[in-house]
């Protein structure tokens, strides 16, 4: 009885997730999907998405790797607070993140006027898309990198030091290679989260074609404006990318 109930419950939830996703694939023929993706709107959005997510990823790696290492190795007061701050964007609603960014960096935000005085306008630009993505997605990388670094035996770093390698070379030749699966998995997850970013982006960067309209925003716009085939085509593309992400992350997690 319990066994049957378990199976039914599991199948129900599984079907609830799988059926709508699979359903997206049956609406259009492959040719229609290709045509939808070839439309100017979709191509522009794809370009914006690729450019912004790659910049976000690069900045996250550059800034997040040292932070993750400090969180894994450092011994300082208030580390648990820093830990919590890093994790916060994972649970904060993206709309809240977007509003928060707007209230600091927006035209009438805290830093808006001084930034404008030196000729920098951030809100509703491509830079704003990148900022929203980093805000929302970087914790996925930092968390993975932190646990990757934690798993590296400290004696290996100590051995490297006694053999004559300074901290930077020890990091490059011992720590990073040993944490590589975690770093790569975290990077892929971070990139995928940035690619799917919607809420913070639309609040802080708007939905401007060629400037801030990423793939998820293009789905939203084309749903509203009636060209649903483009929205579906982009959705299909994103599901395929998501599936590939999960497969890649699984692979690195096992490594």
């Amino acid at each position: 009885m319990i066994r049957a109930a378990t199976i039914v419950a599991s199948l129900l939830l599984l079907a609830f997730i799988a059926v709508p996703l699979a359903g997206l694939f049956v609406h259009l023929s492959p040719a229609q999907i290709a045509a939808g993706l070839a439309s100017p709107v979709a191509r522009t959005a794809l370009r914006i998405s690729l450019v912004t997510t790659l910049i976000s990823l690069a900045l996250t790696l550059a800034l997040g790797t040292p932070l993750a290492y400090v969180l894994a190795r450092g011994d300082f007061r208030g580390r648990s607070v820093v830990d919590a701050v890093v994790d916060l964007p994972i649970v904060v609603p993206p709309a809240v993140a977007g509003l928060a960014l707007l209230l600091v960096f927006g035209r009438f935000g805290l830093l808006g006027p001084p930034l404008r005085a030196i000729g920098i306008e951030l809100s509703f630009t491509t830079a704003a898309v990148v900022m929203a993505q980093i805000f929302v997605a970087s914790p996925f990388y930092v968390r993975a990198a932190r646990s990757g670094f934690l798993a590296v035996d400290r004696d290996l770093e100590a051995a490297s030091a006694t053999l004559g390698m300074g901290p930077l070379r020890t990091f490059a030749f011992v720590t990073v290679p040993l944490a590589a699966p975690a770093l790569l998995g975290g990077a892929v997850l971070c990139w995928a989260r940035a690619l799917g970013e919607f809420g913070a982006t639309i609040m802080f960067a708007g939905n401007l074609e060629g400037i801030s309209q990423t793939l998820p925003l293009a789905i939203y716009l084309n749903l509203e404006n009636g060209d649903i085939s483009i929205a579906i085509a982009i959705s299909v593309l994103m599901i395929v990318v998501s599936l590939a992400t999960i497969l890649v992350v699984r692979r690195y997690e096992r490594a």
Partner: protein
């Protein structure tokens, strides 16, 4: 000559040890938690002392004004669990310290080959360290520490990771290798049979203090 006179506050007690180690092996015996590893880590520069000094062959490694970082000390260390780099093969593990010194590749390979042959592990050179037995690991760790021609050699319980059967054999082998090492060598152990096996100077450490020295 390695001259140590250092103090460091530890969680359970104040570490305050003074020791003079001339060339050759000095066995440091003490129960676990007596500060043996701390002593070695202080000498290697992996831990900073609160006060005191460490001088090796007249070169000040640490005192009130000086702190030479571990990567500039040229002190070889064999870690308790050997700390071999799992992502590198045996030859690359041994070559690591030479790479740090920017030794040219041909010269590096020759030196690695020489030390591996000297320790009779030349046939292991292409093996991953994960495939090695405990005794083999210990030799690789020793080769890695010796190839840089260290000014001092530190061995942190080098036999404790081995099962009792191999331990006696590896101990004998280690002794004959160390017979040919001509730098101050600290051999830290909690095992009285290690002490008996080395006709060496012995220092006893308890609660972070050297309580007795004998030749």
């Amino acid at each position: 000559m390695l001259v140590i006179d250092v103090a460091k506050k530890l969680r359970d007690f104040e570490f305050a040890a003074a020791l003079e180690a001339p060339r050759g092996v000095t066995v440091v015996v003490g129960p676990s938690g007596s500060g043996k590893s701390t002593l070695l880590r202080l000498i290697a520069g992996l831990v900073r002392a609160d006060a005191g000094s460490i001088v090796l062959d007249g070169r000040v490694l640490a005192d009130e004004r000086t702190f030479v970082p571990p990567y500039l000390r040229n002190v070889g260390m064999v870690f308790q669990e050997y700390a071999l780099f799992p992502h590198l093969d045996v030859a690359a593990n041994v070559a690591y310290g030479l790479r740090a010194r920017n030794v040219h590749a041909t010269e590096r390979d020759a030196q690695v080959r020489r030390i591996l042959d000297r320790l009779e592990i030349g046939d292991l050179s292409a093996q991953r360290v994960g495939e090695l037995s405990g005794g083999q690991r210990q030799r690789v760790a020793l080769a890695r520490a010796l190839v840089i021609e260290p000014a001092a050699l530190l061995l942190d319980e080098p036999l404790s990771a081995l099962d009792p059967l191999t331990r006696a054999r590896v101990r004998d082998e280690l002794r004959s290798i160390l017979d040919n090492v001509d730098v101050p060598t600290l051999f830290v152990t909690h095992d009285q049979s290690d002490r008996a096996a080395f006709p060496a100077r012995v220092a006893r450490i308890e609660q972070g203090r050297i309580v007795a020295e004998a030749s």
